[in-house]
Symmetry: C4
Subunit: 195 residues, 4 copies
Amino acid sequence: MGKSRLEAFSDGVIAIIITIMVLELRVPHGEDLSALAPLLPNFLSYVLSFVYVGIYWNNHHHLLHALEHGVTGTILWANLHLLFWLSLFPFATGWMGENEFAPIPSAAYGIVLLMAGLAYWLLQRAIIVHDGPESVLRRAVGSDWKGNLSPVLYALAIVTTFWSRWIAQGIYVLVALMWLIPDRRIEHALQHKGR
Amino acid sequence: MGKSRLEAFSDGVIAIIITIMVLELRVPHGEDLSALAPLLPNFLSYVLSFVYVGIYWNNHHHLLHALEHGVTGTILWANLHLLFWLSLFPFATGWMGENEFAPIPSAAYGIVLLMAGLAYWLLQRAIIVHDGPESVLRRAVGSDWKGNLSPVLYALAIVTTFWSRWIAQGIYVLVALMWLIPDRRIEHALQHKGR
Amino acid sequence: MGKSRLEAFSDGVIAIIITIMVLELRVPHGEDLSALAPLLPNFLSYVLSFVYVGIYWNNHHHLLHALEHGVTGTILWANLHLLFWLSLFPFATGWMGENEFAPIPSAAYGIVLLMAGLAYWLLQRAIIVHDGPESVLRRAVGSDWKGNLSPVLYALAIVTTFWSRWIAQGIYVLVALMWLIPDRRIEHALQHKGR
Amino acid sequence: MGKSRLEAFSDGVIAIIITIMVLELRVPHGEDLSALAPLLPNFLSYVLSFVYVGIYWNNHHHLLHALEHGVTGTILWANLHLLFWLSLFPFATGWMGENEFAPIPSAAYGIVLLMAGLAYWLLQRAIIVHDGPESVLRRAVGSDWKGNLSPVLYALAIVTTFWSRWIAQGIYVLVALMWLIPDRRIEHALQHKGR
């Protein structure tokens, strides 16, 4: 299994996910601003998810870029497992937006974020195991504070949403901002290797 | 017709199929867990189909990888025929999930699986005929017990679903698990050839 | 503008068209065969359109393959014009299927076929003009009886559907079968050129 | 981050946007021409948006083609920002068409056009900053009268639509026609550089 085909397929799936999310922004029936107003939560949750999927696309690229050897069955299925959780973004986004960030939909959104984060971590693991202890990725990941902090923050938001929906949303935004800065660790490790 | 364009087009179609299936998971109207509960069968059938489409993508890749000569009109249409049956997955998955694995929708799902399996076999045939008796694929396929057993099991599930829906679903899960192990036969045959 | 990017973009659009058409096959509410029965016309029109889009994808590939020089603005917009008419297939297919091949939806379907055929012919023209009188494509197209006959048959079907819907559908099927045989003329001309 | 992957991902997203817009053309229930008539504004707004997305695809290609050095995080996010506004086209198109070019939906459409134009300008900026003052793109863009005039015209249309919807639509059509002529400036600058 060539790396480039895995990359192209993942890119295709991610491109479709990021685009069909907009279909949950249903065209309203009225022609006034008052028809648009109820869509504001849907729009905000769409923006949040667009940024998250963009982050995953970017980090996924860096991850596969660091993959030195071929694609094994384990890596392939770890990748499909990640795409599975990403594919639930349109649903979770739509449900959260439709219900104006109500506790249970927001917690469900957090669970999808948490599972996608876990799936990403598993994929990273599978690649490191395959590439060996001297792999570019292993050195690049290092202590991986962002990867370790994110699930803690997602879990915090999932619990907090039952107490205050805005603090929970604030945490989701915070994690997104934390990741918006591209993962320069892998880039650096790759450069040090003289590629 | 270049092999790579056939591959890219098939990957595109499969990526779209695997992603739009999630659109059948309609965002519920309530904001409680009770609004989510009726979606459980839809979710489970989505997971099953996601795994099946993932398996097809993986095996399809191995199949085309083994193709040694150019793409003929027969191979091209055998490939489109496979994509046609795969394109019915969102519909069959949605209908089965919506009706909580009722007999007739589950049988319809089994028929789509059966036809996709048949289409895959026809595509494999077309490639073997084209590549000749000494082809990598022919030696790789060998006795092909999985390919022979699957249609028998699908047919069994289609019949069984009218007696017990859970046994039928168990068979669908079993076949998926059987295929989850990637098709190492082709990989081995390719390696023996010294590629 | 590189030929390969035009090809990749067109493939992407065609892959999406062929796949979202299935979304017009709405999952029925009942769980009996009687719930499926009304969908038969939708299914048949889906099959017809799937074959037509497959034919366009195949012929489009041959057409671009024959393109010897770079992509001009005219070729690019002639290509987008073709994709525009192809993008109306899901709508026309859904409307015709929903109304059991009623005259006006069937005529609308024929008009989309006619316009897509015209757009294809214009794209072919644009490429021939650009590649010059000695181009591979010009020699390949030759008398182009299929390209000349198709619009006549589409027009015939559009008129006939007001008299008998089944004769009109028969003509649509006939034209599809006529094109199913891949366009070997271009392949031959390319081979004669010693490529 | 390789330029080709950014290009492929953007092409994928744009191909999906241009194609799912047609899903807002809902299949009507009747089988008469009278069932089709109310869809005329939807169809016209679809045509307008199809042309705009086509223009963005074309110009985006030229823009990335001129990019000489690698893709930075800034360029990547400037590109995702552009894709975000383009992804709102199906929604804005559907809302405007559904309401027969009523003032507020038409102004919303203009705002999406304006923001997409701004996002394009920001992406252009990011590339020029990265490639340096001697970059191909900088010389190509030159005075960029089209890029400067478009936002003014969009703003004019947004205001005008409250007075006359047809003048506003006329302005949208005018800007599209102005851009339909491909951006030869970049092509020329690239050729002068001897590429």
